[in-house]
């Protein structure tokens, strides 16, 4: 009488992990649509055929994302009304099994270490606190106190303990029939970013840009044959409350990647402010998979290289420092990429003398509207250097100082170059800095910085001098 029950329990215990190895067989997922946002948030819509009995019934939904946010579940089926939704995660483990067996009777199978003889006893679990206290007949024992082999066999698994978190929805149904039901929920672990492959042609002054969507799935779940839609945007905000923490925005020391935000609308479908990038056909997004899909391919977009260097204060540089190489281009319809650019990494390549593309550096961009001007730093130039020297610093009055600066820009390249030299630190805590004299007219960027656009001949050098009056 006892043996078949034990066998059934044992079989059940062994069967579950085995089923776990095979995701493709018996997958309860229906027709899937997966919408993936930047920032690892995704919306899964799963249309399943469900047999609803008339009246109230509880429907379980296996094979949802293992990183489901159960509080975001919505459910829809014709002629049904939702009573409640439950997400149960009382998980089956040896410890949980033993904890729930307090007060219950289990079977002990002792194995004699020398003879292998098996002795079977029934024992009642009295307590599980730092060890299992058992009552066998009239005697009290501690499970495996002497370290000898003992098998504990439970008669059944408590109904509340589950192999994995289980989502269930209780519905009222007007009619008994099998009909489609939509389950939709948000999940973490699915995200995407854009990767741009940009081939820069220095001679022609153009760049060829391919945009790739890189999709990653770390949910622990495979989404079979899913209609996939990518949304360029992170649709999440904070709490709309009155606390403003007096954010301090430091004055920018080096120019960012987005030089001016565009106002053109890209020729793509929008969801609110976010552009949609639908994948052309259904695809299986396997767990732990990285998938790449092309979304942009534009050739010969005008681009130019410029060097940039920012001097932070009126300091002497004992060693020259490399200028940043920056590639500038536009995302405009006219003379640009002609598309909005989802956030991602732009990798620049340039052909070497043999014609092979070589990697020359990368830069991150945020979501960039169409029509924007971009300046992406690819790295520091080997051959273009700047050395700033404090020629003199005089105290004119107790608070007014006069600094004469000299900047030596050297170019070891065989082409002439253009360099934007920026002197920052002019606005030292609301002082009044004036440029008394300069060897070339500069453009005041803002109260804190001024910029000279300097051309340096091939294999040559240029010196800029300027005198500042500063109040400390």
């Amino acid at each position: 009488m006892r043996a078949p029950i034990l066998a059934a329990v044992a079989a059940g215990l062994i069967a579950s992990p085995a089923a776990a190895q095979n995701a493709s067989q018996g997958n309860a997922q229906g027709e899937l649509a997966v919408t993936i946002y930047n920032g690892g948030q995704s919306l899964v819509q799963d249309v399943r055929q469900i047999r609803f009995p008339a009246g109230r019934s509880r429907q379980e939904f296996p094979d949802v994302s293992a990183q489901i946010r159960p509080q975001t579940v919505s459910f829809g089926a014709a002629d049904t009304a939702i009573v409640e939704q439950n997400f149960d995660y009382d998980l089956l483990s040896p410890n949980a099994l033993m904890q729930k067996a307090v007060g219950e009777t289990v079977t002990l199978l002792r194995i004699n270490p020398a003879t292998g003889a098996e002795t079977r006893e029934r024992a009642k679990v009295l307590a599980v606190n730092g060890g299992v206290v058992l009552q066998i007949g009239t005697r009290i024992e501690i499970l495996r106190d002497d370290g000898l082999p003992v098998r504990v066999i439970f008669d059944s698994i408590p109904p509340n303990l589950r192999a994995k978190p289980t989502l269930s929805i209780t519905v009222d149904s007007n009619s008994a029939s099998t009909r489609p039901a939509t389950l939709s929920y948000l999940t973490g672990g699915l995200g995407w970013a854009a990767d741009y492959v940009s081939l820069y042609d220095e001679k022609a002054g153009t760049v060829d840009v391919q945009g790739w969507v890189t999709l990653t799935n770390t949910t622990g779940t495979t989404f079979e044959n899913a209609k996939t839609l990518l949304v360029a945007g992170t649709p999440s905000g904070g709490v709309a409350n009155n606390v403003r923490s007096g954010r301090y925005r430091p004055v920018p020391t080096a120019p960012g990647t987005l030089r001016s935000a565009g106002t053109e609308t890209a020729p793509r479908e929008q969801l609110g402010d976010y552009y949609l990038y639908p994948l052309p056909e259904r695809t299986t997004i396997a767990n732990a998979q990285t998938k790449q899909v092309s979304f942009l391919d534009v050739a010969r977009v005008p681009a130019r290289k410029i060097y940039e260097f920012t001097v932070d204060g009126f300091n002497n540089m004992t060693e020259p420092a490399s200028a940043a190489s920056v590639i500038k281009f536009s995302s405009s319809r006219e003379g640009g990429l002609g598309d909005a650019l989802p956030a991602g990494t732009v990798r620049f390549y340039q052909r070497d003398l043999r014609g092979d593309p070589q990697f020359i550096g990368e830069s991150r961009i945020g979501h960039t509207p169409m029509g924007s001007e971009l300046g992406l730093k690819t790295g520091d130039a080997f051959d273009v250097k700047v050395k700033a020297t404090v020629v003199s610093r005089e105290r004119r009055t107790p608070t007014i100082w006069r600094s004469a600066m000299s900047y030596l820009i050297t170019n070891a390249r065989s082409q002439p170059i253009t360099l934007d030299l920026v002197q920052r630190g002019l606005d030292w805590y609301w002082s009044e800095t004036r440029i008394l004299s300069e060897s070339q007219k500069s453009e005041r960027l803002d109260s804190d910085g001024t910029r000279w656009r300097v051309t340096v001949p091939a294999n040559g050098e240029t010196t800029i001098t300027a005198t500042f009056e500063t109040r400390y």
Binding site: Y89, Q99, G130, R247
Partner: protein, 520 residues
């Protein structure tokens, strides 16, 4: 079948001289009122791994009381019970005293409680498998080692190198499997009574989860909210009357601290030095594995008809059959689930909290800055604005929670934003920040006027959307003297001078202002 005798009988002989013990194992009916985590951020979510709210649990239990004094033991209460909060009513003789017995039955307490008592020492010979058992007397406490007196003399437990185990004749008095509440009562006569046990318990939390579905046209939305309740106790409350309370209660004591059961002493036996330093085997069961969130085990598949059919039409959402009823409880808002529901152990459940359709709303783009901020590029926040008034199809208390906003696009209902709202009373304006725009961007440049103590700023807002948007730029500042007349003339919104502008499709708008240096 002797061993099947209930625990009660085991305890009874030890306390034969004391009052009889009446054990109540389960309630007849239970009601659960859940309170939110008082320290959670406004609009925050439930942390299922660490529930910091609490619940008031009220259970009715049927008891058979003997005449005279008896001890009633309440079993099957939530493990997070705050014993000092327990109230027992319905006992005809009242409550003489109330105890929370937390001396737990464990290997260490067995040893300790049996100190000086006779036990059996069972040894197994590895070579032959012969089991011998002899009487022994425990002569030392469980702190680190056990010294036993046997017929051979004095020995140390588990310093022999042979498998040995202590076997006890009974459980020492007063040890329980789990912390238990017991009350002493004096009943005038033997009778069956219905008593009510009411107590606070930790390991609960609740939050609202709003779903806003924007109607085509983008002028109104259907607002719906789930009442999400989670229970991390090991006990399930079947067919409970469930309610949830919104509002802020003053809580002085840390309930978790009050609940904490005394640490179960670990039995870790040490021996006299034997050269190799053999240590006793720790008797702890392995720690529970972290809840594994991966795997494809498919135990519920029999409920589901798997089909390869392509489905064109499926309803996006069903109506709700049951909606919580709201009532005012003093300064709190009480939401009652009108049907009995089961609050499962380690489970989260959702019942509809509120349903409001066709609520008008506005989409606003907003940025708040300090008057002396400057930056190249900032994304504007996207804000949904509603008025919580009856005339605006709302006018109900909105408890704090997360909001998910859905819109129709690409032939589907897609997530358009997520945000959070604090508790909103009727009459308040509801602003929900649901994301940042990549299309509406703001730059503020400070084009210097050297030699002056005022700085000239220009704020530029650019709109790459093919439609016009409303943008609000709010200025935070320290003192009026900083502001020029253009800033001072701006209307106030939430206390901040705010530049409100309609930015046409694919266009930019500018605002120039001057600011005097603060503290200059």
């Amino acid at each position: 079948m002797r061993w099947a005798a209930p625990l009660l009988l085991l305890v009874a002989p030890a306390s034969a001289m004391a009052a009889p013990v009446v054990t109540s194992t389960a309630p007849d009916s239970v009601s659960v009122s859940v309170f939110r985590d008082p320290d959670r951020d406004e609009g925050g979510e439930i942390d299922r791994d660490w529930l910091n709210g609490f619940a008031l649990i009220s259970e009715t239990r049927t008891l058979d009381l003997p005449a005279g004094e008896s001890v009633v033991r309440f079993e099957g209460v939530a493990e997070g019970m705050v014993a000092v909060s327990a109230i027992v009513t319905g006992l005809p003789g009242g409550v003489v005293q109330k105890n929370r017995d937390a001396a737990l039955l464990s290997p260490a307490s067995l040893l300790d409680g049996t100190l000086g008592n006779r036990v059996h020492l069972r040894r197994t010979k590895r070579a032959t498998g012969d089991v011998t058992e002899e009487e022994a007397i425990i002569r030392s406490g469980p702190a680190g080692a056990v010294v036993l007196q046997t017929s051979a003399g004095f020995e140390a437990l588990r310093c022999t190198g042979i498998p040995e185990s202590l076997v006890y004749d009974g459980v020492p008095k007063g040890l329980t499997a789990k912390p238990t509440l017991s009350v002493t009562t004096r009943s005038p006569a033997a009778q069956r009574v219905t008593a009510t046990l009411t107590y606070l318990s930790t390991g609960f939390d609740w939050a609202s989860n709003y779903v806003a579905r924007v109607a085509p046209g983008g002028k109104t939305l259907d607002l719906f909210a789930w009442l999400t309740v989670a229970n991390s106790n090991g006990e399930s409350f079947a067919d409970a009357s469930l309610s949830a309370l919104a509002g802020t209660l003053n809580v002085e004591r840390d309930f978790d601290e009050l609940v904490e059961s005394p640490l179960t002493p670990r039995l870790n036996l040490t021996c006299f030095p034997t050269g190799s330093g053999r240590y006793g085997q720790p008797l702890l069961s392995p720690p529970p594995p972290a809840p594994a969130m991966v795997g494809y085990a498919d135990e519920g598949a029999e409920n589901i008809v798997v089909t390869g059919m392509r489905l064109r039409e499926a309803k996006a959402s069903s109506p709700v059959a049951v909606v919580a009823e709201q009532e005012d409880l003093g300064d709190l808002k009480l939401y009652r689930v009108p049907i009995p529901v089961t609050v499962a152990a380690n489970g989260q459940k959702q019942v509809a909290l509120l349903v409001k359709d066709d609520v008008p709303f506005a989409t606003i783009y907003r940025l708040r800055v300090d008057v002396d901020d400057e930056f190249d590029d900032e994304a504007a926040e996207i804000l949904l604005r509603m008025e919580n008034r009856k005339s605006e199809k709302l006018g109900i208390p909105l408890p704090s929670g997360q909001v998910a906003v859905f819109e129709q696009s690409h032939g589907m209902e897609l997530l358009a934003g997520e945000g959070a709202i604090r508790d909103h009373a009727i009459g308040e304006r509801v602003d929900i920040v649901i994301g940042e725009s990549s299309q509406v961007r703001v730059a503020i440049e400070n084009y210097a006027t050297p030699g002056k103590d005022r700085h000239s700023y220009r704020a530029t807002v650019s709109n790459a959307n093919p439609y016009a948007v409303t943008f609000e730029l709010g200025f935070d500042y320290y003192e009026d003297g900083q502001l020029d007349s253009r800033l001072r003339k701006l209307p106030r919104k939430d206390g901040l001078p705010t530049w409100t502008v309609r930015v046409p499709a694919n266009a930019t708008r500018r605002f120039d202002y001057r600011v005097r240096a603060s503290g200059g």
